[in-house]
Amino acid sequence: MDNITVKSKDVTLLEVLDRVLDKGVIIAGDIVISVADVDLIYLGLKVLLSSVETMECLRGAPFPSPMQEAT
């Protein structure tokens, strides 16, 4: 998949990309990490997830905020 070149400075395209590229219905299995040992990576990711939770407690400069959902 090629990188999308947005040199045409099309702000509409970028707003659309913001949606169709990583929002919308995902029927699981369509994101693939194509490197060798899947189990190893999955384990690693669990570790990462707790780090993120810890980080969210440390809230403050300079990391971007996660999406805040409100009902």
Binding site: D2, E15, V20, V25, I31, S34, G60, P64, M67, A70
Partner: protein, 271 residues
């Protein structure tokens, strides 16, 4: 027969309007109980994500939105054969049904706000930067200077974020008033103060736009963008997917991460 998926719709009838999809193929409905999947047949492999593909996909989602409640698919969701589409709807029926009911008659608006980050920082530095309450850090060693500078930066960054939150909350008072749901992201970049999506009922679209105009005129030094109405890309929640699959992973750890079209066949082991 490869099928390109555009969205789940709350209808099991034929799509009467002629909607043109990828490769100029007609978009049609594959029904399941009282819902359906809007698809078109693709004959060529899709070589990459191109501007044309993105806009064609979105155009179909919007046309569907005119007549139906749509749960729009992510780009490049491709299934192999009608059976797999039916089986996918079977797997997700409850989720799809709930989302369709919850999103009926609602549309999504995007709001982005850019602020002058440099000016905000200068202002913060001028008002609180030079006071040095930590007298014991005035020692000259390189290490202490380093820490002192880090500490100053830490305070500035925190004040920066607090200011950002303040402005965002003020804006959200107006924008959130006519929204049934929202997602707000602060400072995705330093300058991009706010990146938000609001779920608004169709009846309230004008009220929402009015609220936006009010916000837009409030500060001359901020820059504003509004987009929409979109199908509710950001508001579809699938409970089923919140359980990680055994062999799946999260994104973008390596250069070789691919957004891969789903070619679901035999692998339907949900753990």
């Amino acid at each position: 027969m490869k099928l390109y998926l555009y969205g789940i719709i709350d209808s099991s009838s034929m799509i009467r309007e002629s909607i043109c999809g990828l490769e100029g193929s007609g978009v049609y409905n594959i029904p399941y109980c009282d819902i359906g999947t809007a698809v078109s047949e693709i004959n060529q492999p899709i070589p990459g994500v191109s501007k044309r593909l993105v806009l064609e996909h979105e155009a179909v989602a919007e046309k569907l939105m005119e007549k139906f409640t749509v749960l729009p698919f992510r780009l490049l969701t491709i299934l192999d054969g009608r059976e797999n589409v039916l089986s996918m709807m079977d797997d997700y029926y409850g989720d799809f049904r709930d989302n369709l009911d919850g999103l009926r008659g609602k549309v999504e608006f995007g709001i982005k706000v850019i602020w002058p980050a440099d000016k905000v920082k200068s202002c913060i530095i001028n008002t609180c930067g030079t006071k040095n309450r930590n007298a014991h850090l005035l020692d000259d060693s390189a290490e202490r200077r380093f820490v002192r500078e880090k500490f100053e930066q830490h305070k500035i960054d925190r004040a920066f974020r607090e200011k950002a939150d303040g402005y965002i909350n003020a804006m959200d008072v107006f924008l959130g008033k006519f929204a049934t749901a929202k997602k707000l992201e602060t400072l995705r970049t330093e300058n991009l103060l706010l990146s938000a999506v609001y779920l608004v009922t169709k009846d309230n679209q004008d009220n929402f736009r009015e609220a936006f105009e009010h916000v837009r005129t409030a500060r001359k030094d901020f820059k504003y963008l509004v987009s929409g109405p979109w199908p509710p890309y950001h508001f579809v929640i699938l409970r089923r997917n919140s359980q990680p699959r055994r062999n799946s992973g999260l994104t973008a750890m390596f250069d070789k991460v691919i957004l891969q079209p789903t070619l679901v066949g035999a692998d339907k082991t949900w753990q």
